[in-house]
């Protein structure tokens, strides 16, 4: 039987529920990386003649933003329709290149295969087994919540305003939630109040002749600037810092 639809070697297929390496791998050592099984209309049966377990594992091709610099998991969980191609002439090794956008309007949808096949019917977004700890089993539960210890703080702040604060002061600063994460709205209000309290401009020329000349090298200026930036980040948090920076640039 010949089928004439997609170009030779390409396919359109559906991921069956419960058949990704997150839920099937007992150990991450066994897994390739993010493979999922795929059922391809025209190649695999609609019914259970070829059940989900006999379908081929497909390698998932990711975008360049998933290279070594970033790395990320694929979002294929089950039920998605995907496109791809085969690595071999006999069309036994599929590779998925993309996922088709899905209309999330809830309708009558499956949450598992019936008789070993989805029969190409729509599948619920939250289907299949519930993944423990989101992805992989393995490893014991942490005994206490994550937090920075003294040594880590010391390493992280090495070279930044050294001597200005004692270790005890730094520890206290990080333990104080208000210091670590100030309320952004409150900070903004304070900043606005400071701006309003500035005197009105008089039009006088400011004489800078008696100010002290800059004696630092460019590298020292950059280092001081970086240290100051880090101190601010430590106080208000990285996210808030960059939000303000963006806001300032936009202004």
């Amino acid at each position: 039987m010949k089928s004439a639809s997609l170009p030779q070697g390409f396919f359109l297929g559906q991921i069956p529920p419960n058949w990704n390496e997150y839920v099937r791998a007992s150990s991450w050592q066994d897994a390739h990386n993010n493979r999922v099984k795929v059922r391809i209309p025209g190649k695999h049966s609609k019914s259970g003649e070829i059940p989900d377990k006999d379908l081929p594992w497909a390698i998932v091709e990711q975008s360049t933003s998933s290279g070594n610099l970033n790395g990320s998991s694929v979002g294929l969980w089950g039920g998605e329709w995907v496109t791809g191609y085969f690595l071999d002439k006999d069309e036994q090794i599929p590779v998925i290149t993309g996922v088709l956008g899905v209309n999330t309007i809830e309708d009558e949808k499956l949450d598992a295969s019936i008789g070993g096949s989805t029969q190409f019917k729509p599948v619920k977004r939250f289907n299949g087994f519930v993944a423990k700890l989101y992805q992989m089993r393995g490893g014991s539960k942490p005994k206490e919540s994550a937090g920075m210890d003294k040594e880590t703080i010391k390493k992280a702040t090495k070279g930044m305003g050294e001597g200005s604060k004692s270790d005890a002061e730094l520890q206290e600063m990080f333990n104080n939630p208000n210091m670590r994460r100030s309320d952004p709205e409150e900070l903004e209000r304070e900043q606005l109040a400071r701006i309003r309290s500035l005197p009105e401009p008089t039009g006088d020329v400011i004489d800078l002749s008696d100010t002290e000349p800059e004696t630092r090298t460019l590298a020292q200026i950059q280092a001081d600037s970086a240290a100051r930036e880090q101190r601010i980040i430590n106080q208000i948090g990285e996210e808030e810092y960059y939000r303000r920076q963006r806001e300032r640039l936009n202004r």
Partner: protein, 433 residues
């Protein structure tokens, strides 16, 4: 003329048409002017064609077409619409072709010559397996020994569908390697033919053929085919034995023509003698490069003395392979699925070496011969030497029947063969190391 070359006897040639549930039989013994029967190790099914002359008294028109229900030619009156069956027995002095239990099917017909008195009709025919194959869609996953998978596919899609399709389990050879695959909705023949090049009989013995003969389907390795004993001996000689009925004349080569004796550039381009093979493991991202070299004595078995390899200074073809690492496993674990290192380069070499010499011969009709058989051919030596004359020690020897045609006419019957050979010389070599 040899006895076997004389006209053969059509003991039965019956065309069977199912018309509205009624079976209509038309006897074609007196109408047949030419019959050609074909087998090939490169074809998964038998084919044939039949030329008949019809003068218009063969069949009656149905009432649907002609209220008077007059007689007419089978082309119009039967009418020929394809899917008719042809049952036949053709007997020559050396044997018979008997297709009464497994009739061939009409693929189509043409009427190349027609006048008011008669018409010539050419029927093309195929075996039932070809029809069942076209209706087959292989979906399931198959695993383990490739020979077993071939048996399962044939049983499921052909043997169980028709009583007239034959399978002798001994003709399906087991392989030394295992392979997991899914049918991908391909036809049975397409899958089995593809499996042939992935199958190995033993180390350094890759390459199988899937083909049909009058005895049924075969899935056999090249080495198994060529290592069988020769079924007949044929001689090329300019003289015939005195007595016309001397059976010795039945085994004379009537004509022979060397179609091919090596094609070095094609062989180099196919990487027959030295190929580079790149393998990529998608799990470990490991890339491996191997050179596969054909050297003297590399063939496990050969039809003549060891095949010779020319001097090749560098690889002439690169094969790229992505390894199949547990693609069809139920769990995420899995090792190489039929590692191509074991068969790919070897199969490419083996098929090409086998077809390095092709010879066409014509012999008096011998219906006992089948595609995949081996025969011994002896050609005369051309020499001015006064020493004893004899056979050409290089050309003579064992040949494999690749294509076969039994040709029957009202005055003669002949068998045309395309023979292949991988090496030269009278004596067979077996490399058991």
């Amino acid at each position: 003329m040899a006895k076997a070359s004389a006209a053969s006897k059509y003991s039965e040639i019956t065309l069977i048409k199912d018309r509205d549930g009624e079976e209509i039989n038309v006897q074609l013994e007196g109408k047949t002017v030419e019959f050609n029967y074909y087998e090939s190790i490169r074809s998964p099914n038998i084919t044939a064609n039949l030329m008949i002359i019809d003068t218009g008294f063969s069949a009656r028109y149905s009432k649907e077409f002609d209220r008077q229900e007059r007689t007419g030619s089978i082309y119009s009156a039967l009418p020929l619409t394809g899917n008719e069956k042809l049952r036949f027995i053709i007997e020559s002095s050396l044997g018979q072709l008997n297709f009464t239990n497994r009739p061939l099917f009409v693929n189509g017909s043409t009427s190349p010559d027609q006048n008011s008195q008669r018409e010539a009709i050419l029927l093309s025919l195929f075996s039932e397996g070809a029809k069942l194959n076209s209706e087959s869609t292989v979906l399931r996953k198959y695993g383990g020994n490739i020979g077993e998978s071939v048996k399962n596919i044939l049983n499921e899609f052909l043997i169980q569908k028709s009583e007239s399709v034959r399978l002798n389990p001994n003709n399906i050879q087991s392989t030394a390697n295992a392979y997991n695959f899914v049918g991908n909705s391909k036809s049975a023949f397409e899958i089995i033919c593809n499996l042939g090049s992935k199958s190995i009989a033993q180390k350094d013995s890759a390459g199988f053929f899937f083909f049909e003969t009058k005895d049924g389907f075969n899935f056999k390795s090249i080495d198994d085919l060529i290592s069988k004993d020769s079924s007949y001996e044929y001689y090329k000689s300019e003289v015939l034995n005195q007595n016309m009925s001397d059976v010795g004349n039945d085994y004379k080569i009537l004509s022979h023509h060397v179609r091919k004796n090596q094609n070095l550039l094609n062989a180099l381009n196919a990487g027959v003698f030295l190929s580079r093979n790149i393998y990529f493991n998608p799990k470990t991202f490991e890339e491996t490069e191997l050179l596969y070299e054909f050297s003297d004595g590399k063939l496990v078995k050969s039809l003549g003395k060891s095949a010779e390899a020319p001097e090749v200074n560098g690889y002439t073809k690169t094969h790229y392979n992505i390894l199949d690492i547990g693609t069809l496993e139920e769990t995420v674990k899995g090792n190489d699925n039929n590692d191509p290192k074991d068969y790919q380069a070897q199969a490419a070499m083996r098929y090409n070496i086998l077809f390095s010499q092709l010879v066409d011969i014509q012999i008096p009709c011998n219906p006992n011969l089948k595609a995949g058989d081996t025969i011994d051919c002896y050609f005369e030596i051309i020499t001015q030497s006064k020493k004893e004359q004899g056979h050409d020690p290089v050309q003579s020897g064992k040949y494999l029947i690749v294509d076969l045609c039994h040709h029957f006419e009202p005055t003669r019957s002949i068998t045309s063969l395309t023979l292949a050979r991988d090496s030269y010389g009278l004596y067979t070599t077996k490399n058991e190391s």
